[in-house]
Amino acid sequence: MRYLTDRKRVDGLGSAKTGTAHFWAMKTSSVALLLLIPLFVFMFGAMLGKPHDQVVAFFSRPLPAIVVALTLIVGFEHFKSGVHVLIEDYVHGMAQKIWIIAMTCLSYAAMAVGLFAIAKIAL
């Protein structure tokens, strides 16, 4: 163990160097969602409240099924990164870690459950 203070140990090393990747991930997913969200809103909106056979027939078609799958993947990925920053701003210490892990798990779980559902409907 060297006689270094915490400050001296990190001085000059810059940031943890993952901020740029996070920023870029948010930027690319937001541009993708700019196209996906309007498509999804009108496809889902049109089918909400419709009979079951009509809903299944519509989401069995290639374009609606692919739009739903992509929106689930990109949307929950975007949410995962966004809620991460929200938690970092307001929760600290051990609670912060628990919340980030919990919301990451929830994001991927919801994504997977949704993808399973649309796959079952479409195939």
Binding site: K27, S30, L33, G45, L48, G49, H52, G82, V113, G114
Partner: protein, 130 residues
């Protein structure tokens, strides 16, 4: 690890000390809408799971989401998604160091607010007609 004592430093003024402004409120709303959309998103995922399960279960989930409370959440989510989308576009513009002047930033702020109301009304009418 060297022992570090946290000195009692003065804190910068808290958020609550400032007068609410269009720029701050429209920024905070971006975060609120984005994270609140989780509720609507989980309901939508549940709706798809129900559609994949059985006609009976779908009828139940669809009835819940089109109940008055479900309609309220879906209509709120519709506004939230348009607001968050427009506010996101504003960030994509700002990322290029464009539109950061106070006057332009204010115009963009109002464009996001009124744009979200407009898009919500128009899209809700289109969805009702579909």
């Amino acid at each position: 690890m060297a022992e570090t004592k946290k000195p009692a430093r003065p804190l910068s003024p808290h958020l609550t000390i400032y007068r609410p402004q269009l720029t701050s409120i429209s920024s905070i709303l971006t975060r609120i809408t984005g994270n609140a959309l989780l509720v609507g998103a989980l309901l939508v995922v549940w709706w798809f799971v129900a559609a994949a399960t059985s006609p009976e279960y779908f009828a139940f989930a669809d009835a819940v989401i089109t109940s008055w409370l479900g309609d309220l959440i879906m209509f709120g989510s519709l506004w939230a998604v348009w607001y968050h989308t427009l506010a996101g576009v504003r960030h994509l513009i700002w990322d290029n160091a464009i539109g950061l002047e106070l006057a332009t930033a204010h115009k963009l702020g109002w464009a996001v607010v009124y744009g979200s109301f407009g898009l919500t009304a128009v899209s809700a009418l289109i969805i009702l007609a579909l």
